[in-house]
Amino acid sequence: MQLIPCPWCGDRDEVEFHYGGQAHLVHPADPDALSDEEWAGYLFLRDNPKGWFEERWSHAAGCRRWFTVVRHTVTHEVRGSHRPGERVAVSAS
């Protein structure tokens, strides 16, 4: 069980959250201009690091907002969280 720090509600039990995978993915500004390879990249390719990972969580059973968590994928240690648009001082390595 992990404690996930919601930037609005504070530390809450993992079961209240929905996981959203890698953070900071941006929808293509001009989708028509993308090649098939670029579309495949946008849809299917995600980082899968063994170490620190910036990832999205949604507080589904709480405030229902999305935010970013910096979490280690081996130790499950959490370094912090931030609201959309913010960047944390300690960034993922």
């Binding site: 069980m1 992990q2 993992e14 079961v15 929905h18 996981y19 995978g21 098939d36 390879e37 579309w39 495949a40 990249g41 849809l43 299917f44 390719l45 995600r46 899968n48 063994k50 990972f53 990832e55 979490r71 994928t73 081996v74 130790t75 499950h76």
Partner: protein, 406 residues
Amino acid sequence: MAYAESPEHPAGLWRNPDPRRTYDVVIVGAGGHGLATAYYLARNHGITNVAVLERGWLAGGNMARNTAIIRSNYLWDESAALYDHALRLWEGLSEELDYDILFSQRGVLNLAHSLQDVRDSVRRVEANRLQGVDAEWLTPEQVKEFCPVVNVSQDARYPVLGATLQRRAGIAKHDHVAWAYARAADALGVDLIQNCEVTGITVRGDRVTGVETSRGPIAAGRVALAAAGHSSLLAGMAGLRLPIQSHPLQALVSELLEPVHPCVVMSNAVHVYVSQAHKGELVLGAGVDQYNSYGQRGGFHVIRQQMAAALELFPAFARARVLRTWGGVVDVSPDASPIVGLTPVDGLYLNCGWGTGGFKATPGAGWVYAHTIAHDRPHPLNEPYTLERFTTGALIDEHGAAAVAH
């Protein structure tokens, strides 16, 4: 059937050679897939100058952690063909390897709990029959007859509305499978090298030339990845990005019980699968933990959910004690189907993305992967399982069809 004595402990079943400086083929990962691939490379293709490199101990990854369910009743033709090829190999494997792998075709029930489940299941039964895969639809009464411990009361929260049955499906003893392949590959000249972590892949121009390891560099004409949960990291060493995410998958066993559970029961709706091991433990599996992880462990709430689901289906298990729980790292692809084939780097091959269900494929995966490596082109059975399908859109979407687990 008479097999050579099956030793309890693997010591002495294979040599433990030091790595040579060069091989024709280096396979990364001594799980079931890596070992089966090495065996079929030698047996089917006469390629014996092969090393299987393993960072830990032989078959200590997902091969040692799975719930050992074997079946071939997937929905899509591509899947049914591949998994049924594997099942036909399972049926002769103890004799072939002269080692009892305790393959038990006790039948697998996939329960349906809603009208949509029923429709999807019946559709899958019809598809399987067209594919030549054995499949039956059972009413709740027939489910009860086949597996008397299942609760088919209509008062359950998610009542059992029926089930598909594949009689040829079942379980095998995963350790024995690994040791049997290891012994047979070793006897054909393959070097099995434990405690040898691959830390780099060397590429010159567009061609792979070998690997860097914790025991020094090894040159190889061909390098074949079979590293399950760690494939993203290995592919990254050759500059490739894979459509793969690594997740924890957990399982647990109870204390030993008298024989009470005659088959395998799976339920994707309440999400648990249960069988009874040869020794007598109940073996229970769950779904993946939702987050990415390489930690080989997951959250306790997943175990709690899986036990709640099991008790709903098997009220008689309420007093059984949990003996141990564990987790593995599984590699999930976007369409819940594996990637087996060539890569943009010449001589570098990929076998990954089997997610929660690759144990059942072990002989078939090894068979087609060995063919792919030997001929530098896929076997007809793994032709659809390319990396390019995520660009072309020719997905094999088992996630939406046969549901997730195993």
